[in-house]
Symmetry: C2
């Protein structure tokens, strides 16, 4: 077993500690440990607290020298499965690796938690242990979406923390999403759009119209974002918006529909290339470029829904994440930890009327906000 | 000007008359007339009543000999634009090509109407002129979605007729969608799924849980479909379901998200092939196969949302439809006209308790229902 939390800081870079749930993902703890090793190789300031079955994890860690002295193991005998109901886990979840993982953030030992487990259970445990930020009614899950923007991604929230949202919630999602875009994507003044069935002002549900009017009336100014109005499903990957705001029911359906469509087109493309020897040859010649495309739309690269609105940052990795996916989630977690994202977000939510608290560089408010 | 409505029937096939709105699409009446010519060449039983500005349309028709004697022109001086509000068109729409187009179906001159115009206005005019089928609370728009099923498509509804739906509406959408799948896609016993944020029974909104329980309790049996339970966004293009039922807000977002994602992947693919001379060569070799792929996921091929639940069938073609898209919408319209779809659907809705009225072949109920 390795223990790294008492090691001295490396020179010139501040140490980041991430709490990781080793269990509950489809590929098991070996994929998680492999992902941590990949991340650790890339970034020497990263340290981990790994939660799960010691008998399983210790041998896996022993085979990864790069994690030696940088990964503390915390034994947790129980595992939350994908079938467990959130309400059950919330009441009887102590002793699970997921619960233990969130506890490390609650106790301040780690800045961000990462888990590949059951999303509903993870949100339930995060809610009950970390509690909501003062002023937040409904926390949200934000995801990154491949887009035509220069940075390559847009943010969408909520993608499934709750199944409904009123106008107040939508306004809070906008402020939190904009803060996330500033700190996670270095956008000084993110453009926010409200997801609707049309861009005309008279369209859509009552709570959308109310949120629309309040954003124009001052909420956008207070939240230091630019409001671009209603956007449609086709605009989610576009370059006319950075942050797409919607309720968790619609956002979850849109996210899974987008993933499913990309998978369908990609499968059809493979069939296409296998349909004749001449197209096989063509694919062979274009292989390098096709691999670049695959990386560009690879869901593993954008792996990590972020829970916003809690007293602690939690990154939810895809249940099916392999080592590459886990490394991407850890990369996102470390970026958020390094930016001091949570403090900025909390300040933003606590004083929605004042602007500027969550600028990436606090000394540079005029330029970035 | 040509006049075909009084021509004698051709031998061996019954004559189908389709009412077509020539105006209001992005590509203008020339694309519509070109699409009709394509359809007329393929199917000699097709006849049209074309609505729009005579001065514009007559010269276009004169250049298409195949439409000679098969296309009656009805002058309508006004056009509904994409910016017009549905409520305005509903009150003051007389004299527009859209209104005139729906009138032909109302008067029984044509079996199905086709328009590329403003969706909201088309639904409003269809509602006020054709009226809802007895027993229908909310009409719905059904679309076809490229899928892994043998037929190549799934049906989804509602994709935007209304922005909400209660449990009664969802049950009616299921019955109407199943009827459409039987008659438009020749599926004897369609599999119906309810779109939700998870497949577990405890998930989702109250109206979804109620509809779920009532489908199991007997509505599926009465509607002669198989209920597969909740499905997620990723299942929309899958082969585990034929008909996806959802409210019009969620359905519209999912539809546009799917289209936008397919477009994004396709644009990225083009950039990929243009990124080096060797991948250009690869693309050249695979050209035939890539064109086959393009046809497979071409939104023009699945062009045509169908309005269900009215006393008349209306096919809404994409506003951006070119000649190929218009021909696809006309093809769908003629298939629905030929199957006697509307009578079967009306019987199904009127007596939701009895099964078998909308079997594709009325003499063959046991086998098909």
């Amino acid at each position: 077993m390795t223990n790294g939390t008492n090691l001295p800081l490396e020179q010139g870079a501040s140490r980041i500690v991430i709490s990781v749930d080793a269990m509950g993902g489809d590929h098991g703890p070996a994929a998680v440990v492999a992902g941590l090793a990949t991340s650790a190789e890339r970034d020497s300031t990263l340290h981990f607290i790994l939660h799960g079955d010691e008998a399983v994890l210790a041998p896996l860690l022993d085979r990864r020298p790069v994690l030696n002295g940088r990964c503390e193991l915390r034994h947790a005998p129980r595992v939350v499965t994908m079938q467990d109901k959130p309400s059950q886990v919330m009441r009887h979840g102590e002793g699970t690796s997921m619960w233990s993982c969130i506890e490390s953030v609650k106790r301040g030992e780690a800045t961000v938690a990462v888990s590949c487990g059951n999303t509903g259970a993870l949100m339930a445990v995060s809610m009950i242990r970390l509690r909501k930020l003062p002023g937040v009614n409904r926390p949200a899950i934000a995801c990154l979406w491949p887009s035509r923007n220069p940075g390559g991604f847009n943010v969408m929230l909520d993608v499934g923390a709750d199944i409904k949202a009123d106008a107040d919630d939508l306004l809070q999602y906008a402020a939190m999403g904009a803060s996330y875009a500033r700190n996670g994507m270095n956008l000084a003044r993110p453009r926010v759009g409200l997801l609707n069935v049309g861009t005309e002002e008279h369209k859509g549900r009552a709570e959308l119209k109310e949120a629309h009017d309040r954003m124009i009336a001052g909420a956008a100014e207070a939240g230091s974002y630019e409001f671009v109005g209603f956007v449609e499903g086709g605009d989610i990957p576009s370059d006319r918006v950075d942050v797409i705001v919607t309720d968790g029911f619609t956002g979850n359906i849109a996210l899974k529909t987008g993933e499913g469509t990309a998978k369908l087109v990609s499968d059809f493309l493979k069939e296409t290339f296998n349909s004749s020897w001449i197209s096989k040859l063509g694919a062979l010649l274009a292989l390098r470029s096709l691999r670049a495309l695959q990386r560009r739309i690879d869901p593993r690269r954008v792996n990590g829904g972020v829970f916003l609105g809690l007293n602690g940052t939690v990154v939810k990795s895809h249940g099916g994440a392999d080592a590459t996916g886990v490394a991407a989630a850890v990369n996102l977690a470390s970026q958020l930890a390094r930016s001091g994202f949570l403090d900025r977000l909390a300040a933003r939510v606590a004083s929605a009327g004042r602007a500027g608290q969550d600028a990436p560089d606090g000394t540079n408010r005029d330029q970035t906000e």
